[in-house]
């Protein structure tokens, strides 16, 4: 059966074209482990530099590049993608789905991630890559960093954000819409629960990073002055970056907590202690994570009351974590613990995370943070949380699900060996860094009294590195020589173990459902009838390649960009026109979105992330506007007439979209096409008017870099204009199909979904118009 659906695993075609969630999960796993080697090698390079107080292993610039790219790669290209490797493979199995809601988008997420990473790697070969710290502080990474490699690396991050956005939408829709009948939201296995909370945090955090990267790229490439002007500058970036950055800490941590919770139950043979309270605590953490970013800015001179508020929220967030970790520990009471490799890593991760959590309370206290900021204490703390809590926890997951993914059992002895090496190496590496708390971080030289601590850390680093080599060997060796694992080698209770190892392409024979709390399989599998589902598409790869080329050209040769944009248009049309079959199960648990179909939910989720994007861009404008002492009076700098005309045009176009949909609903082919054409004309008129306005400004010598009013105006209306332009491309496509009679007969939902986007773009303008022209 399998051979009919997917080409064999030994072929290139299979891995380039696959959209199956398990294949994509494997791709994510291999790629994230590859980047782990890259990030780890960089770390070992600067650990070598730090093996002595005054060595010359790396030049100061090379040292800065190594620490910067190490941080970015580990946080964004290793820990999160490793979590999503597991999520890709396991979440659909845990909820009883055949695949993610949008298989092609899932493949797209992967390829965008890979090509984003490739861009970062390419930047190494452009003389200098990012060397400004993973926090990209301003204005160091804008006006004071002329290197082209920084641009390329930054654009790599932009591709990663695109990947994350796509996969966020996919997982939100999947977990809400594809659960097996009877699997209530509160009964989700903890791993899936944590992934859900993770993607909800991603949904609101990553658009802030995207907005930051767009503004930064605009400063660097177009010459806007957001970060080089004192009114915006360093503090504006701090707010944007840490609004993303602190939730990001929990984004890399939560999936590991989910792994640990599932592993604890399986290997202690007892239910999770106070499971509902854990979930409640996680929801609180996820919400509160957006209210603590200021603790990264305690020393920037923020208002004393604001500092106090951030101290309270920051220390308060340790309480739900208390509840989570203590519940994990109480789970072990009166249990029957089997110390297999996954359990060892889960327990080790908890112990390490406890140390990270306690030291986090230190840093939440402003008075201590005053002294600890920028030192090795901070470095030690976040490695104990993100590397210890996050990465080590995920390693537990890799071992836990390895038998499910491969059908083979890994070598337990090698697993234990890795555990011992990991725990020893980890603590040798990071604990001395707590004790080096008087030393500034990101510094290649240090006083002689720190030699013993730093040397122990370097040795620990190499032991930790070696521990991962043992893991790679174990995973590869067992793939070939491992014992057959069976369906449920751990005697676990969750749904992913109730099928073969590895599972068939459709995951389960029959449709899983929980009836009266007990699993059963409904024989009449909806998928078995009708046309078989599709599992292959070339377009996710092509789209990602096209995006990659377009961005690569910006920092190398614009020819790449031209080719890339052409390929992009071709791939979008290819994707839209492809006949790709992926059905939703007829029955399932979908609260609270029973009546919102998956496309609609996807659009709403996507628009929610767009709201955050524009929210941050507009907030940046309001911020520089309010901190700026001088600002031109309304009507003196920008022509109100242009703005008013465009407001009128866009609002009218919202009406025509509604009328196009109404026409489609009553089956009027001419009405549908006519009103779509009217919308297209209005959109073109909007952009034409915009073009005139910009030309006039340029004619008066006002450009991107003239001043903040000009910079904010051009960038904000530019981003909005790009959204209008994207909308017009979509309308052109819709119109070409409507002229051939589409939508009027069936499929008018497509117009409805497009309408959401178009109305959203119009609403954004309704904010832009008064903010820029009238006040």
């Amino acid at each position: 059966m399998e051979s009919h659906i997917l080409p064999p695993g030994s072929t290139v075609k299979r891995w380039l074209l696959t959209t199956n969630h398990k294949d994509v999960g494997i791709l994510y796993l291999v790629t994230s482990l590859y980047f782990l080697v890259v990030g780890g090698a960089l770390a070992l390079l600067f650990r070598l530099q730090l093996a002595g107080p005054n060595l010359n292993v790396l030049s100061p610039s090379a040292f800065n590049q190594a620490v910067t790219v190490h941080g970015l790669i580990m946080v964004l290209f290793v820990i999160s993608p490793l979590a999503f490797a597991l999520a890709n493979y396991i979440v659909p199995l845990q909820i009883g789905a055949r695949d993610l809601a949008f298989p092609r988008l899932n493949a797209l997420s992967y390829w965008l991630y890979l090509f984003g990473g490739v861009l970062v790697v390419i930047s190494f070969f452009q003389q200098r890559t990012l060397d400004v710290g993973w926090t990209l502080y301003q204005p160091l990474s804008s006006a004071f960093s002329p290197y082209v490699g920084v641009n390329t690396g930054g654009l790599g991050l932009a591709l990663l954000v695109a990947s994350v956005t796509v996969s966020t939408v996919n997982f939100v829709v999947t977990i809400f819409r594809s659960r097996a009948k009877g699997l209530r939201l509160t009964a989700l296995p903890m791993f899936t629960m944590c992934i859900l909370l993770t993607v909800l945090m991603m949904l609101y955090a990553f658009p802030a990073l995207l907005a930051g990267i767009i503004i930064l790229a605009s400063d660097r490439i177009l010459g806007t002055v957001y970060f080089s002007s004192p009114e915006g500058g360093a503090i504006l970036w701090d707010h944007i970056f840490w609004f993303f950055g602190h939730p990001e800490v929990y984004i890399v941590l939560f999936p590991a907590l989910g792994v640990i919770a599932d592993v604890l139950v399986t290997f202690s043979r007892r239910p999770l202690f106070a499971r509902r309270i854990i979930i409640a605590a996680m929801v609180i953490v996820a919400g509160l994570s957006f209210l603590v970013w200021g603790h990264h800015m305690f020393l920037t001179g923020m208002h004393p009351d604001v500092r106090r508020a951030f101290t309270v929220t920051t220390i308060a967030i340790s309480l739900p974590f208390d509840a989570i970790i203590l519940s994990f520990i109480y789970t072990l009471v009166k249990s029957r613990i089997e110390l297999k490799t996954p359990m060892l890593f889960a327990l080790g991760s908890i112990a390490i995370f406890i140390i990270g959590g306690i030291t986090g309370v230190f840093l939440g206290s402003i008075a201590l943070d005053y002294v600890l900021r920028g030192t090795y204490f901070v470095v030690a703390h976040f490695h104990y949380t993100m590397a210890g809590g996050g990465l080590v926890g995920l390693v537990a997951g890799v071992y836990y699900w390895y038998p499910k993914m491969t059908g083979k059992m890994f070598n337990e002895k090698l697993g234990r060996l890795q555990f011992i090496l990991t725990i020893i190496g980890f603590n040798m590496l990071y604990f001395p860094l707590f004790l080096s708390w008087e030393m500034p971080r990101r510094v290649p030289i240090y006083p002689e009294n720190l030699i013993p601590l730093q040397q122990v850390a370097t040795v620990g680093g190499f032991i930790l590195g070696a521990s991962f080599l043992v893991m790679f060997w174990n995973l590869l060796y067992s793939l070939k020589y491992g014992q057959p694992a069976g369906d449920n080698p751990w005697g676990a209770y969750t749904l992913e173990w109730m099928t073969k190892s590895p599972p068939p392409p459709h995951n389960f024979d029959g449709t899983p459902a929980f009836i009266n709390g007990q699993l059963s399989f409904i024989a009449a599998n909806g998928a078995a009838h009708g046309e078989p589902e599709t599992h292959l598409s070339v377009w996710p790869f092509m789209l990602s390649l096209a995006s990659f080329l377009s961005l690569l050209g910006l920092t190398t040769n614009l020819l790449f960009t031209l080719v890339g944009l052409g390929l992009l248009a071709f791939s979008v049309l290819g994707l839209a026109g492809e006949r790709f079959i992926s059905r939703e199960e007829k029955i399932g648990e979908r609260w609270p979105f029973e009546s919102v179909d998956r496309m609609k939910l996807a659009w709403w989720t996507f628009i929610a992330s767009e709201v955050m994007l524009f929210g941050v861009v507009l907030s940046a404008y309001v911020y520089v506007r309010t901190t700026s002492a001088t600002w031109p009076a309304p009507g003196t700098f920008f022509d109100i007439a242009h703005g008013a005309v465009n407001t009128f045009i866009l609002l009218t176009s919202s009406l025509t979209v509604v009328l196009a949909l109404a026409s489609a609903r009553i089956g009027s082919r001419a009405g549908t096409a006519g009103f779509l054409a009217a919308t297209l004309a209005l959109g073109v008129a909007f952009l034409f008017n915009k073009y005139n306005e910009w030309s006039e400004l340029f004619g008066h010598g006002i450009t991107f870099s003239t001043n903040l009013p000009a910079s904010t105006f051009f960038l904000t209306t530019g981003i909005h204009g790009a959204h209008v332009f994207a909308g017009l491309l979509a309308i052109t496509y819709l119109l070409s199909r409507a002229l051939r009679g589409a939508y009027a007969r069936e499929g008018h939902e497509t117009l409805e979904y497009f309408g959401y986007y178009w109305h959203f773009v119009d609403i954004v303008w309704v904010f832009i118009f008064p903010l820029f022209y009238l006040v």
């Binding site: 239910p271 999770l272 106070a274 920037t300 208390d322 206290s365 920028g374 500034p440």
Partner: protein, 217 residues
């Protein structure tokens, strides 16, 4: 020790007091929690023939609920009381840090890639080296002329961000004559590691004669 001889608190005292509370509690909590966990693991480790717990989850079930809210809430209540007292202690320390002594000497600091410029009240400008009289508080007005830096004098437990376009205020006080290292604690480019200045605390008389000689010249 300064307190014993009736002197005013310094940034070092404020930090050290708070640090000792946090680190003592931190170490105790860490040891207790991790030991308890290890104890549970050792005690409950499966030995041959140990019976399966009665409520062990069975394949294909929905998650079972296991009671324990009371025990958990009690534990969290305990942590909450620790945490709240830590917040209060922090606020008290912060009040002291936020209130520079009235007798402070005022110095303007401009950070640059990669060094420090100091401007004395009389307008004298020095690069890389700041002389102050010991015992007198110094109030810093810190800014940067290029990128984001952070001025830290770790031996004095003093640190403040130096941000272009913005002036931040901080203070410290030194009782012990000597040389203290001023370092940058925010990555600021290739020279970040060697962006080192010196704070020289002098005997008041020495300082005065040096300082007045500047005015004379």
């Amino acid at each position: 020790m300064h307190k014993l001889i009736g002197m005013v608190a310094t940034t070092v005292d404020i930090f050290n007091n708070l640090w000792s509370v946090f680190s003592t509690l931190g170490v105790i909590v860490g040891i207790v929690v991790i030991s308890y966990m290890v104890y549970l693991i050792v005690r409950n480790r499966a030995r041959g023939g140990a019976p399966e717990p009665e409520d062990s989850p069975k394949p294909g079930e929905l998650p079972r609920e296991r009671k324990g809210a009371k025990k958990l809430l009690l534990s969290v209540f305990l942590s909450a009381s620790i945490v709240i007292s830590l917040i209060l202690l922090t606020f008290i320390a912060l009040d002291n840090l936020d209130r520079p002594p009235a007798d402070a000497m005022e110095v303007k600091v401009v950070a640059f890639q990669w060094g420090w410029k100091f401007y004395y009240p009389n307008g004298y400008e020095a690069v890389g080296e700041l002389r102050i009289p010991r015992g007198t508080a110094v109030k810093f007005y810190v800014t940067s002329q290029d990128v984001f830096h952070n001025m830290g004098i770790i031996d004095l437990r003093f640190k403040i961000d130096a941000i272009p376009g913005k002036t931040n205020i901080g203070w410290t006080r030194v009782y012990q004559a000597g040389v203290y290292e001023i370092r940058c604690f925010e990555l600021c480019g290739d020279g970040h590691g060697v962006m080192i200045g010196r704070l020289i605390a002098m005997e008041p008389e020495e300082f005065n004669s040096w300082y007045s000689s500047l005015q004379a010249s």
